[in-house]
Amino acid sequence: MNIDVVTLEVARNRLAAIADEMGVILRRTAYSPNIKERADCSAAVFVPSGEMLAQAEHIPVHLGSMPASVAAVLDTYGDAMEPGTQYAVNDPYHGGTHLNDLTLVRAVHVGRTRIGWVANRAHHADVGGEAPGSMPAHAVEVDQEGHRVAPTPAVRNGEWLDSFTTPFLAATRTPAERLGDLSAQLGANEGGAARIEELATAMGIERYGAVVTALLDYGERRMRAAITALPDGRYTFEDAMEWHDRDLPVVVAVTIEGSALAADFSGTSPQIAGNINAVSAVTQSCLYYAVRVATDPTIPANGGCYRPLTLDAPSGSLVNARPPAAVAAGNVETSQRIADSLLGALAQAAPDRVPAAGQGTMNNVLIGNDDFAYYETLGGGQGGRPGRPGQSGIHTGMTNTKNTPIESLEMHYPFRVLRYGLRTGSGGTGLYPGGEGIEREIEFSANASVSLMGERRRNRPWGLAGGGPGAVGEDWLLKRDGSREKLPGKTTVDVRAGDRLLVLTPGGGGWGA
């Protein structure tokens, strides 16, 4: 069936609007700040084969991992799937990323014909496990991190199934908040499914099928055009994750040949007994992210534009972990390094598009005791860009969550922010200097436990084209008695009322000499 360009453009807008609407429903009806205000969530629409059609994305790390969740449901249930059933999954080894990210997947039918899928993912603040927030720093196995859900039926005809909710809510420390967020996820999928059904019914199933096929082909054409514009070649780069006093290599070779691009992570460190292992869906997301940054960011993210990309991540490595390895920090920290290494390679092919290394970490800070649990991430320096300095105090790479206003958080938590400013001189030198990191100092008014999960505490964010590296991050415990203790980037410490925590986040690398 021939699809004209006008129909194609109208359908592209319409499907993007449906994905956006799902994202809006999710945020509007969610309960927790993490989804509502920080927007740690995504929603997407898929074709029956599981290729993604349109996505409302707020967090890059969800890019490639949403299709993995749909694929896992499809693999597990195949054609036995019932219309109107929603499936839940958070198992990193079956289409998930880390346990906090729970995805609901729902098939869309017209009559008995499956015409596609809708899915949405939200970061749940706690899913059980050995520490509040479900990212225990000491974990070596995924089951220490929380409750694991392999693809399982969760909703039938709009109603929760006890077989999913009972164990899930029993595992979490915050069941009421979880149920609020889950309801938002349920509603977003029902809303999206109704819109797709409406659209396909109005167009006719056969024509709808032809249109979505044409849209995927359109995405593929645009991505191929963008890759073709880059010079053929093999571009390699090596970066490293910091694990206690060891550096674990993250190595990539990117090969561009005509309109195809392949990334091979051979040589990357094997997985470790710790929580910085990334599953392949995370690495996939990083690849999609880096390619979009290095080519044309306006290309709509659909499955078609990922067809020209191939990923080779050695099984059992830091970038394609095998069970039962723990993975919480793989999603939030290793993802940053994977993206850095890919961008380091792509900078050689697209020197005018790729900035020097950004801060390369999310500077996760978790504070809590028996009465409260608080989680924040801190921005830092963006790398200097060809033609422009990097921006200061901003999230870079695989995350983009907002901060919590000081006047809001001090209302509810037993600590006070003494200082929140830019870290002068932390950006790498260069023609276009790197952006500056952040200094944040807080004083505790109650005894608490503090967990830090940060990177670039030893290896400086690299410069490009002769630019200097950014400053490494630092974490200090300033005790009430006047003594100071420099903390490792990944640690858990007990603090007492009157103690202060000072976090200095990394600056970005500089660009150009």
Partner: protein
Amino acid sequence: MTPTPSDVGLGVDVGGTFTDFVCIGRGGIATGKAASTPEDQSVAVVSGATELGAAATRFLHGTTVATNALLEGRGAQTALITTAGFSDVIEIGRQDRPSLYDSFADRPAPLVERALRFETADELDPDLGRAEAVAVSLLYGYQRAAAEAEIASAIEARWPDLPVSLSSRVVAEFREYERTATTVLNAFLMPETSRYLNRLASQVAAAGLPTDIQVMRSSGGLIPIAEAAALPAAILLSGPAAGVVAAGALGNALGREHLVSFDMGGTSTDVCRIDGGRPEVSYQRSVAGYPCRMPSVAIHTVGAGGGSIAWIDDGGSLRVGPQSAGAKPGPACYGKGGVEAAVTDANVALGRIDPAGRLAGSLPLRPDLAATALGSLGSALGLTATDAALGVTTVVEEVMAGAIRAVSVEQGADPRRAALVAFGGAGGLHATALARRLDMAGVVVPPYSGVFSALGLLLSPPRTDTAQSVQLEPGGNIDEAVGQVVQAVADRLAFSGATGITATGYVDARYRGQSHETTVPYRPGEGWDVLLARFHRSHRERNGFAREGDAVEVVTVRAEGVARPLVDWADLPTAVPTGAGRLPGRTVVTSQGAVQAAVFNRAGLSPGAEIVGPAVIEETDATTYLDAGERAVVHESGALEVEW
């Protein structure tokens, strides 16, 4: 028609291309247009006002002066004084970046350079004297009005002419970044805005025009000129807000409860939801990327208008906008050198805009150039020029439909019960296609649609808004907190001489632990039980659920005060038909192909007249197109009510 010389109101709205005038007295209405004078808006304003409004006693003004100063970076060299340790909050913002994948997308540069950010100390920094305006925003400034005022006094003692904006006065709400950014924005805009308004006031006085000047604020009401000069952050949506108010007033007159206003201009389209005559108000928006925490009519803007250019992306798809041909060179059919096909070219090629017509500047349109532009677009797509034109209208309508979904479906409001109120030059050309696509209840094309915002000024109430962040839980003294702000707005309106004052209290409430608030009305004396029930219900409507057992907190109390507007829609003189209603028909391409369509002169239509599509209804600055199967009836107000 000449207005009678007592209690005559003059509405003057400055737009990018034209400055519009509407003068209303008892029994008469006169309208006019003049080319805007961007280098000094007051030139066109005063000359047009002198011509049309010599008899006026009230001068109501919508201005883009603050908006332009922001967009063109012509604000003041601004300094900021804030709490020690927090002077970079203005640059860090919320830590997020504007685009996930475009590394070159920058957050807008802070309006205060680093060297002019000062932290509180015993003495003022001598460098402060370099600034042309100062913002003072302390951490928790919303409850530290006295401390901020003390700093202001110290500044005044040393630099008496330096204008100062205090966060406790501009926006006494929590969330340090948004409050500080709004205060800085206000300081940045103050010198340019007050220079303009002072100049305007003296020229208006010199011309013998009324000196009682009121300026439209973004929230949909008028404030005295001196207040606008001190609070420029509150007038950034001055013109668009007036159009929305006019749409609401017309809706009331037509007895329509639910509306969506649809103002389609040359480069962009503004839409806003109006329920029960009250435009939806939002308390936070961003203007040119800068957060502005001021109440404003909740207009959603998309970059699609009559001048939007059609293009083909590198995947071979037909796209329309956001690039616009603007006024210069304009669409190809303007004959001013534009070669790319714009939406207006498509409408000319389809015969929906009269190919034999003239531009406002009286130059004849060039349908041949429109055809050439669409021909080359079409040949690149494998389409005829006519199919390319139909494609352009279809694509731009889908983009605009997205804007209407954003203000309705995405906020839990059903567009199917609402009518679309279409104005702006191109609104009537696309309104029915859009409304039908969204299955809306109908379309209303108002009279005076070419000067609708200027008319809206005359229909707008004097208005005051205020807010104060608090921390209250059930049992706390809510009556006192709300009572104070309600009294404050009522007093301020009364003081300015307004009559027929209504002051309404609101509270921002949330479940403890939430990061977002739901705003609900509250009348002192109602008590917590009433408030909580209302909050749960409103939360369910907006967010899909309520948790009646959970703890609730009130974090901000608000009040809005409105007074009697100069005129109501019912006061407007009834339209008297002038000239012939029926014009010679012409060929128009409808969704069903080329047909002979009836053409009407809107000014010549009598109330009660019914027009069946395919038809075109023409007026001086606007065109309404009815496709096959659509029927318009002329209401006694002159409005066209369209159904299908």
